[in-house]
Amino acid sequence: MSDKKNLKAKTGNEAMAEAMRQINPDVVAAYPITPATEIVQIFSQFVADGLVATEFVAVESEHSALSACIGASAAGARAMTGTSSQGLALMYEMMYIAAGLRLPIVMAEVNRALSAPINIHGDQSDTMCARDSGFLQIYCENSQEAYDSMIQAVRICEHPEVLLPATVSTDGFIISHCLEAIEMLKDEQVKEFVGTYKPKHWLLDVDHPFTLGAIDLQDYYFEHKRQEIEAMRKATKVVKEIGQEFGRKFGRSYDMLETYKLEDAEAAIVVLGSTAGTVKVVIDEMRKQGKKVGLLKLRVFRPFPFEDIREALKNIKIVGVMDRHDGYNAYVPPVCSEVRSCLYELDKRPKIASYVYGLGGRDITLEMITGIYNELLSGKISAEVKYSGVRE
């Protein structure tokens, strides 16, 4: 089914904006922030040019942006937004509300370091802080994945067994501003794939009035949170189903995670986002020298695919987990912490090393990744978190 004719040169931001144009949501509310500004800037041009039927709300802050999306989504609209870093931080309060009210809002998010010191470049500390907000988290390796994942996210979030919001993230500048050839779907294909949003309950349905977001104290809050947890659990199955359906229709399948030359690997790296692409290049080079190295790329961090990770890593001797965020004296940073926890269930566990890299957009080079692999292969690792690329 793959039709390579529709290759277009797009940055990550352009790819996400194009996906939004083809999705044609009812409402987009957003506030500009580097490096995500372009997504909604380009999208607002689509609105101005009449290419979409979307109601575009230019709000006064990110808090208002997500609030407007929450109102729109509760009213029955398909709502989307986009942000980054400080903007996401300003949304935190509303993120929990969007998820708690079970509103399937899709957010185009560009990973950027949090201040201070002020920095506009890519690291994953912004979304890592929101990892327990109830949003699904999809991390993209490149513009193609960003484009495809935006389209899939609509279906995943609106699935009746899920009904949760999601962030679809790209690494700031590395993906958001780099031009890549991506294969775009035709407008009709996307329209057909995402379908029409048909919420079960919507506030503008005056014939069936209901209350949404009433106070929920000791006697019911826990039950509603339990439902939300269950929805996130079920999302694993839905992410896979939608990813497979996407593959059947358009030739690119998606899963919770992706492995690269992992089956016979002695040492593996676990990473999410654009660095996975760099790691693949290193693997190819090292394999030529007979070194058995592999990759586990985590595409979806929430829900966390613990069973798949366990299955993929059970025979690996040594695993290096790379985090682009630190836990500030947590035993290990978040991705390593969760990977490590889920592997604890195995009788024969891989050794695990933790690496923090790329804070504030610090470049992660082929040499640094080669160095990590060589360290893993040597077996000489310690429990202490290593900081790759920081000057001593």
Binding site: G100, R102, T211, L212, D216, E223, H224, Q227
Partner: protein, 102 residues
């Protein structure tokens, strides 16, 4: 000690998904049970002006075929506004307040 009845609360599997509540309505609750005085209708003094129906803050004046027919004591709080507003017939009010009997 009298037996205290506690309604069984639904578990997470039974509750509607999310913080969703069916529309609330006082129609399904008895809200007049703390009333200390009740209005009593005296039909022979009633001129069917429906002032009581207009002024009742709790929609507790029952009307059928445009005629006042009595009070809905499940919801009437006994505020007495109907008595104040009732013009009656020749100076005789068509509604009077009586103490609630326990």
């Amino acid at each position: 000690m009298g037996e205290i009845k506690v309604a069984r609360k639904k578990g997470w599997k039974e509750l509607p998904e999310g913080d969703y509540l069916e529309p609330g309505s006082a129609a399904v609750f008895e809200t007049g049970d703390w009333r200390s005085e009740r209005p009593v209708w005296i039909p022979e003094n009633c001129i069917q002006c429906l002032f009581c129906w207009v002024y009742c803050p709790d929609s507790s004046v029952k009307v059928k075929d445009s005629l006042m027919t009595g009070f809905d004591y499940k919801h009437c709080k006994g505020c007495g506004i109907c008595v104040t507003e009732c013009p009656g017939k020749k100076g005789n009010k068509a509604i009077k307040m009586e103490a609630e009997k326990k």
